[in-house]
């Protein structure tokens, strides 16, 4: 199928960018103020206006410091903690339910958790300024947007002794937020390939120059799936086509990636799911699935009683031997929203989560690793927190230093429109 990018359906190219001036004009015309908007727009204006605001985006090879702003200071040191309740805003099922009462007891307050299903929803609620949470758990790629849009406040490290004491140096001073000005790392993950050895010949993946190519191997037609997540999956197709840095992909690269995904419909009878790796592989719905590393660690709880979990494997093409293609790595963070009502408690909670024992307790349930000095793959395997055959699903500090890693950054609206076009093609059948 030939598909010239210029013919693409891309409404956003011509879409206006909203500026503060537009807003004021229109608000004047209407004689009203829409409650959700002024806070965002006012925030943009203080940053020099919507048009001028630049995101500060780092990668492991070129780390960045997020800017500080006079009107958004960190809290002072030595303050007394507020009275509760402390409000958390987290992904669903992304914190050990046992940790919450433990933290509540340690901090002497009640803790309430609100969950979000995707980050877009979380961003829009926070940017409305109409809700107030004390701790938020954004992914690292959202940090530039959250800082520039004035959604989070700087951290005061006096309250966070565990940050420098316990956390991997690579993430105590991370590439996306050097000096941890706004964030503390929560958990880590890579994105790769999950499979079961009784249905897939591991030699088709391990030791291959291009492990991603297994998703185009017709032998596994009808039993393979990819993540129903456009950034992960377009990136997968770009890697498979040999693109090193999906963030820099040209329109031609993206069209080729879209072609490759369209090919999967007939060649592989591809399915797009979110639960395919952690639930679908144990249930036998899939032999092979695009996966986040924690999915395979968690999949042990989804096997039927007579199932054999030991057939599960995970491979991250960025670290596998013989591989010449790249792979994604990322992490979630803990941050304090700018309008948090209990910032001191929030700092104390973050410090609690960065504690060596607490982070391990949390890992037991969440299945995604915290970047703690003592939580090495060897430690996890020796203490039976993770199985040896899933060692590739465990992240090491050195993984962030590989040349073969890619970290996903925020896509601007124009680039996202290009990715979206290819995603619509890929998923429309």
């Amino acid at each position: 199928m030939t598909y010239h990018p210029r013919e693409n359906w891309n409404p956003s190219r011509r879409r206006r960018v909203y500026t503060r001036r537009d807003f004021l004009q229109r608000a004047a015309v209407l004689g009203i103020a829409i409650p959700a908007l002024p806070s965002i727009l006012a925030a943009c204006a203080e940053r020099g206006g919507g048009e001028g605001a630049e995101l500060v985006i780092g990668t492991p090879s070129s780390p960045v410091q997020q800017p500080l702003f006079d009107d958004n200071p960190a809290i002072d040191s030595g303050l007394e903690p507020e009275s509760g309740p402390l409000r958390l805003y987290n992904w669903e099922d992304y914190i050990n339910p046992e940790i919450i009462p433990m933290a509540a007891e340690a901090l002497g307050v009640e803790i309430e958790e609100t969950t979000f299903f995707n980050e877009e929803e979380a961003l829009s609620r926070l940017s409305s300024g109409e809700v107030s949470y004390d701790v938020w758990f954004p992914t690292s790629q959202r940090i530039p947007v959250a800082v520039t849009a004035n959604l989070i406040q700087p951290l005061n490290h006096d309250y966070l002794p565990n940050l420098s004491a316990n956390v991997w140096p690579q993430l105590a001073d991370p590439y996306y937020d050097q000096g941890s000005r706004y964030t503390a790392p929560y958990v880590l993950y890579t994105t790769g390939i999950g499979w079961r050895t009784d249905m897939v010949d591991s030699a088709d993946i391990e030791g291959q120059e291009n492990p991603w190519d297994v998703f185009w191997n017709p032998e596994y037609s009808g039993v393979m799936g990819l993540l129903d997540s456009f950034t992960d999956t377009i990136a997968l197709a770009l890697f498979r086509n040999g693109v090193a840095d999906p963030s820099q992909a040209s329109e031609a690269d993206l069209t080729a990636a879209g072609d490759a995904l369209v090919e999967l419909v007939d060649l592989m009878n591809v399915r797009y799911t979110i639960d395919g790796a952690y639930a679908g592989i144990p249930e036998g719905r899939f032999a092979l699935h695009h996966a986040w590393s924690g999915d395979l660690v968690n999949s042990q709880y989804y096997w039927p009683e007579d199932g054999d979990y030991t057939v599960t494997r995970y491979l991250w093409p960025a670290s596998s031997e013989g591989s010449t293609v790249n792979g994604p790595i990322s992490n979630d963070t803990m941050a304090i929203p700018v309008n948090a009502e209990r910032p001191v408690l929030a700092h104390q909670f973050i410090n609690f989560m960065l504690d060596a024992d607490n982070s391990l307790t949390n890992f037991e349930w969440v299945g995604y690793q915290p970047p703690q000095n003592h939580i090495t793959p060897d430690f996890l395997i020796e203490n039976e927190y993770a199985a040896d055959f899933l060692r590739p699903a465990l992240v090491t500090p050195e993984d962030f230093e590989r040349d073969s890693v890619w970290v996903q950054g925020p896509l601007d609206a124009e680039t996202e429109a290009l990715w979206s076009d290819q995603w619509t093609r890929a998923t429309s059948g």
Partner: protein, 309 residues
């Protein structure tokens, strides 16, 4: 006529204040405004809006002066012959086949329960409704368990010596259609049951007295009298089917079984900077579905007028 009430225009002929009856419409009007018109306007505002420069997400344009309808032309272009054409056709096909199956399966059931089930009618109704105390998503997830390769359906089949099983969940049209039928059929049966239940036995007896066979009685009396119930049931199930996206998501996940609801979901929840496209697509779908609704209302209206003579 009581003389004390006939004194002025404030009172109508039965002695009620004139505003009382219209006032009963207030809750309905408020409901319609708050939960339909305002959200509908908001969807328009998103479709016509712009993109926030930092958050990269749609900013609604509330003022119609700045609205630019070209996005609808683009969406319509995509639906007729563009990227979304196959998805649109597939959606229409699924909904019509699933509705036809609901009619084929649901009509005999409703007929039996309303006319033949005798004093155990309530039990039958209860049995039909019982699964619907469980959330739709939960029921679809149970189907995932039932239909998975080592699930109960295949275990059951293997009792009869079946050796090789179809991979039910690997993107089959019929599995998605069956999911839709299973999910929505009670909403078809209930209004139809009510319509059949209202038919006066005397009309059927009259038909037989006049020499009609059972089949003729059904075809010339029962069916015409239940037609509006059928139509009402079909409209009730078709409207949500057109917007369904979790049934194909859970029972297949394949691009081959994608429906328009999935595409809208993608624009709203994944590629959020394209939210305006999702909003425009939502409006186009609503207009299409409103067409069905209007057909239903016109038919019902005509039937009511015919009945009045």
């Amino acid at each position: 006529m009581p003389t004390n009430l006939a004194s002025g225009a404030e009172y109508d002929t039965v002695g009620q204040k004139r505003w009382i009856w219209p006032a009963f419409a207030i809750p309905g009007v408020v409901w319609l405004c708050l939960l339909f018109l305002v959200p509908f306007y908001a969807i328009f505002a998103v479709a016509m809006g712009s993109i926030h420069p930092i958050l990269s997400r749609p900013v609604p344009e509330w003022n119609p002066i700045y609205w630019d309808p070209t996005i609808f032309a683009e969406v319509l272009g995509e639906l007729f012959g563009g990227q979304l054409g196959s998805t649109a056709l597939r959606t229409i096909g699924y909904v019509f086949i699933a509705s036809a199956l609901c009619l084929l399966i649901g009509y005999p059931v409703a007929y039996f329960v309303s006319r033949k089930a005798g004093r155990f009618r309530w039990l039958w109704l209860l049995l039909i409704l019982a699964p619907f105390w469980i959330n739709y998503l939960m029921r679809m997830m149970s189907w995932v368990n039932l239909l998975s390769p080592d699930g109960q359906v295949n275990q059951f089949l293997s009792l009869f010596g079946v050796q090789s099983f179809p991979d039910w969940l690997s993107g089959h049209h019929f599995v998605v259609i069956l999911g839709l039928v299973y999910g929505y059929i009670p909403f078809f049966i209930l209004p139809l049951f009510a319509a059949l239940d209202r038919i006066d036995d005397a009309t059927l007896e009259a038909s037989r007295d006049l020499g009609a066979s059972n089949w003729q009685t059904f075809w010339r009396v029962t069916w015409p009298l239940s037609r509006n119930g059928v139509l009402g049931g079909l409209v009730i199930i078709m409207l949500p089917m057109f917007g369904d996206y979790y049934t194909p998501n859970l029972l297949s996940g394949s691009p081959r079984t994608r429906m328009l609801g999935n595409t809208i979901d993608q624009f709203i929840n994944q590629t959020t900077s394209q939210g305006a496209v999702g909003a425009a697509l939502t409006i186009v779908l609503m207009v299409f579905v409103a067409g069905l609704m209007i057909y239903y209302l016109v038919t019902i209206n005509r039937a009511t007028e015919e009945a009045r003579g």
